[in-house]
């Protein structure tokens, strides 16, 4: 079986990055990164293009050498090991299948280096192909497979080696939406099955949230925030995270009490006291669009007029102009015909104080 050897105790740290830094002629692609990845985790590296995700991955894989910092795999410092001596495998965004080799030989490539031959080799390869649901294509050439299939082969080619850690650099980037959704589930299934640690690079936030059990959000080579999907979504610590992970309404305000905030137009709203703990000076409060209701069912209220509506099936999105600023909200179309609201109608918005998060204004560069 491809699954990890049992003795690996859960909770052991498979990958540890210490002050990891990479400069390309004085551009810091990765900047003093500290990160622990525990065994069996499905970790997502999420961030805008150019933030250093690939570089980080390439350093773990051994394709770039760090300018500074250390990399530990299963406790051993591997900075000086070439890729072919590291017990990690990478699934490249471009798949990088060997065009001149058959699918079988592609998948067998790593095993042959490990001196596997004959039946055992064949068995392992077939098993890997079955795992990705592509048994029977052994003799084709990569270019004879569709994008999605090539993707699975790349996966099989890495998994078959039973690495300690699997690195995936936007493995689904090249696939179209439908196929992408399928592969997301597929990947998650496989990871469950083999229990190998996955580090998955993506810049699609939904992908990260559906797949990973832990997300690291990078920006400009640094870690902005790390945590479980809902931690990051419900309690973003910076405007960047709030804006990058889904849409959020940020309203500027000032402290008006232990759990009160006065917004630009003077309206006072209440927020969880915890979020204000030892804060001073200017802040912004944030509310997710789906947390806002039409009507006054909740304690925090704002009045305004609808400036835009967009029907997207599942829900209808409204943009409402309020004295405190313009606010987006999603209303799920859970009854036929939708809400029947149109541009120009004036509405009252309300939301549960508990749903509010707070960030320092200085960062309101969103």
């Amino acid at each position: 079986m491809i699954t990890q050897e049992p003795q690996v105790a859960a909770g052991t740290v498979d990958v540890r990055l210490e002050q990891l830094t990479k400069r390309f002629d004085d551009v810091a692609a990765v900047d003093q990164l500290d990160l622990d990845v525990e065994h069996g985790r499905f970790l997502a590296l999420l961030g805008p293009s150019g933030c250093g995700k690939t570089t980080t991955l390439r350093m773990i894989g051994g394709f770039e050498e760090p300018t500074a910092g250390r990399i530990y795999l299963d406790g051993k410092d591997v900075v000086n090991l070439p890729p072919y001596k590291r017990d990690v495998n990478t699934v490249f965004q471009s798949y990088a299948l060997f065009p001149h080799l058959s699918i079988f030989e592609n998948v067998a490539f790593g095993l042959r280096r490990k001196k596997l031959r004959g039946n055992e080799l064949r068995a392992r390869v077939v098993e890997a192909l079955e795992l990705v649901g592509l048994a029977g294509v052994e003799n084709r050439k990569p270019r004879q497979l569709s994008g999605g299939q090539q993707q699975r082969i790349a996966l099989a080619r890495s998994l078959v080696n039973r690495p300690r850690v699997l690195l995936l650099d936007e493995p689904l980037g090249a696939l179209d939406l439908k196929l992408r959704k399928e592969m997301q589930l597929e990947l998650k299934r496989i990871q469950h099955e083999v229990g190998i640690t996955f580090i998955h690079v993506t810049h699609d936030q939904e992908e990260a949230m559906t797949m990973a059990d832990r997300i690291v959000i990078m920006n400009a080579g640094r870690i902005e925030q790390a945590g479980t999907p809902d931690e990051l979504y419900e309690q973003p610590k910076t405007a960047f995270v709030a804006g990058f992970l889904g849409v959020s309404n940020l309203l500027d305000g000032v402290l008006a009490g232990p759990d009160r905030v006065r917004l630009g137009d003077g309206t006072e709203v209440s927020v969880p006291a915890a979020t204000l703990a030892e804060r001073t000076g200017p802040i912004s409060i944030g509310i997710r669009p789906e947390k806002i209701r039409l009507g006054d069912e909740h304690a925090n209220r704002l009045a305004g007029a609808i400036t835009e509506t967009a029907y997207i099936g599942v829900s209808t999105q409204y943009l409402v102009d309020t004295p405190a600023g313009s606010v987006a909200l999603y209303v799920q179309n859970d009854r036929p015909g939708g809400t029947g609201l149109a541009v120009g109608d004036s509405v009252t918005l309300s939301w549960d104080p508990e749903c509010t998060f707070v960030i320092d204004r200085t960062e309101t560069s969103e």
Binding site: G62, F63, E64, E65, P82, P83
Partner: protein, 281 residues
């Protein structure tokens, strides 16, 4: 793949490790040696252009002089030979480039019945020994009672140049977004206008390169010319003849000139292309 990416990929890891370090430099040294090997004869040719040979033969170094450069045409016959060569090179590269570009366009732009046959017909001349081409052409002229001379040389040169032009231009057309032409027509440009305003400007570097190549091949050609020159003498033929009785250093001088001009042309084209790239074209 960007230079950067490629510089990073295979090198990054083992930079620190001696084996690979050595290996890299062994390769570099080897490459440098090869380049030197390629250039020793060139150097000899250039240097001996400044030789003041003892006697008629310019094989051994005697003493340095500028005379040869001051009077490159002092040797009777050399000037007319060079003129003929240049004339033919210009004409043949002009015609060949025109004809070849058209073929390249047809091949890159259309799907038609005889495509395979055409490709083969383009390919074969490049894989036919010059001597066979030269001799077969000669038999044609002999059989059709055509006196060999300037015209027959021109014909031959155009013939063997076409293939090279086609290949060069086709390469350029390969990286050419078909939608550009469609866009032009979409914006009301007739096929002709489209060609003039969009296609041609974009493949220009390829066409120029092809032209230069053709020129170089033509001015350098000996074998095919030798067979079909009749009483006409091109520069290579002159050298051939001269080599038997005397090798005046002027030969090296002219050779060097041609070399400089050709390489210069190539470099200019290169620079021009990179400038275009920077300008975004």
């Amino acid at each position: 793949m960007t230079a950067a990416a490629e510089a990073a990929a295979p090198i990054a890891v083992p930079r620190r490790r001696f084996g690979a370090f050595a290996r890299r430099h062994v390769l570099t040294v080897f490459a440098s040696l090869s380049l030197i090997y390629l250039f020793v004869p060139v150097a000899v040719v250039i240097v001996f252009g400044f030789n003041n040979p003892a006697g008629r033969f310019n094989y051994t170094w005697n003493s340095f002089t500028f005379q040869n450069w001051l009077h490159p045409f002092a040797v009777p016959g050399i000037q007319s030979a060079l003129e003929v060569s240049i004339e033919i090179a210009l004409l043949s590269s002009l015609f060949a480039t025109a004809l070849g570009t058209l073929i390249a366009l047809a091949l890159a732009r259309y799907r038609f019945a005889v495509r395979g046959a055409v490709n083969t017909l383009i390919f074969i001349p490049m894989t036919t020994p010059e001597i066979v081409m030269g001799s077969s052409l000669l038999t044609l002229f002999l059989n059709r009672n055509v006196a060999t001379g300037f015209t027959t040389i021109l014909i031959a040169h155009i013939m063997f140049n076409i293939s090279y032009v086609v290949v060069t231009v086709k390469a350029r057309l390969a990286g050419f977004d078909r939608h550009l032409e469609e866009a032009a027509m979409d914006l009301g440009a007739t096929p002709l206008v489209t060609f003039r305003r969009v296609t041609l400007p974009l493949i220009a570097p390829g066409v120029v390169a092809a032209g230069l190549l053709a020129f170089a091949l033509s001015i350098d050609d000996f074998v095919i010319t030798y067979f079909n020159a009749g009483a006409t003498t091109t520069f290579p033929l002159f050298v051939w003849g001269a080599a038997r009785v005397a090798t005046p250093p002027q030969i090296n001088v002219i050779g060097t000139m041609i070399f400089v001009v050709a390489v210069g042309g190539m470099i200019l084209n290169l620079v021009w292309q990179q400038a275009r790239a920077r300008r975004g074209a």
